[in-house]
Symmetry: C2
Subunit: 202 residues, 2 copies
DNA sequence: TTGTCCTGTGAACGATGTTCAATGAGCTAT
DNA sequence: ATAGCTCATTGAACATCGTTCACAGGACAA
């Protein structure tokens, strides 16, 4: 019996995540409604709270999938163009990140829009996924600068990721930056290549 | 009579903006309540809507002040250290931006958190203020690269601003990046100096 | 059949931003 | 001074929202 309900709940979790994912993709996180979800899933509103802690938990579940897909997408992009010089790898990775974000703007934005009540802690897998992204960047960086120790590489990784993230973020917010998306690739390339060039001189 | 009500409304606008600014500074945009504001201002809830289009309009009013103060702060920081070489100017400006953001995290975040209904347009002064920030950056950039045309400078400006913005953004979101704030200055400096060095070689 | 769990239910709750009929203050004309 | 009119202000009412929890009803053991 216990097994049975557990299975049913797992299915409901997945069904709800499916529906929520579609909504977020099409309309963004802000338009998620508990009642609409329950309707489409054919369950009661309360059922959502049997399976998720709250709406934020559901969004985190959607974000889990997005992180997964984004990681695969970036890795595949890098693999498809391998072998490349480290600087080119960085550009490839960053462009893949930009591409994923512009093709899935709402899902991508949801990754960073989650409003966490200060008491609630970020799930461990969330930081894990971010760590994976970082490690993809760290690899060509170490190659580019073999003498740097782990702490330096870590710092550079976060700096570069944040930079590219910022360009993508303000770039997709077209109402703020007004930058056409072709130029975003150029901007990313400028920052990364300038960085790589200086790094090589060291 | 018409003059009188206009004056009264202007005062209410300012009073409400005062109160809202304090709330945002202390608790963030998410904790703004129309009823609480009306209470503290000693007016009816409806009065808010006589003076602002909606809550978003009020937040925009707060953001106007923040933009103002931030612009002055950044300019003053640059002036205090003048004269500097272009690369040093860029670092000074970026550090000032970081400083302002970490000293006023909630107010700063509010600048970019405004959720605009897709139909409503961003106020012109909003883009103006951003333009001012950009021009502060563009100046040392032109000096650094005198042969670049306006379009190139514009691109570089947005790229650098977005990069620094990204570092500040993910840096202040300590639960995501976990980067101590001293290292943020270092990260910014790395990106900017590497950029400036490559630029100088051109 | 009866009794005992336990699970899913959905009406109810407490907030929220926003609206709009009603109030009343202040000005004008007599 | 008084009556009448205009219009800004009001705050109760409305529509929604996420979230809860007393309860109904099904599954299983005795």
């Amino acid at each position: 019996m216990a097994r049975d309900t557990e299975k049913r709940r797992l299915e409901l979790r997945e069904t709800l995540t499916d529906i929520a994912e579609r909504h977020v993709r099409e309309e963004g996180t802000a338009s998620l409604r508990a009642r609409a979800l329950a309707n489409e899933a054919g369950c009661a509103v309360g059922a959502i709270y049997n399976v998720f802690e709250d709406m934020t938990g559901l969004i985190l579940s959607v974000n889990g999938r997005t992180f997964q897909r984004m990681g695969e997408y970036v890795l595949k992009s890098a693999a498809d163009k391998a072998p490349q010089k480290p600087a080119d790898q960085l550009v490839t990775i960053a462009h893949a990140y930009l591409n994923f974000a512009s093709e899935n703007p709402n899902l991508w934005r949801a990754l960073f829009d989650v409003e966490m009540p200060s008491d609630r802690e970020v799930p461990a897998w969330y930081l894990d996924e971010l760590g994976k992204l970082f490690s993809i960047i760290a690899s060509p960086l170490s190659e580019l600068n073999p003498t740097a120790d782990a702490r330096e590489i870590d710092l550079l990784t976060r700096a570069l990721f944040s930079s590219v993230h910022g360009i993508v973020l303000l770039g997709l917010e077209q109402r703020i930056s007004g930058v056409p998306s072709e130029q975003l690739e150029e901007m990313i390339e400028i920052v990364l290549r300038n960085f790589a060039a200086s790094q090589a001189r060291t």
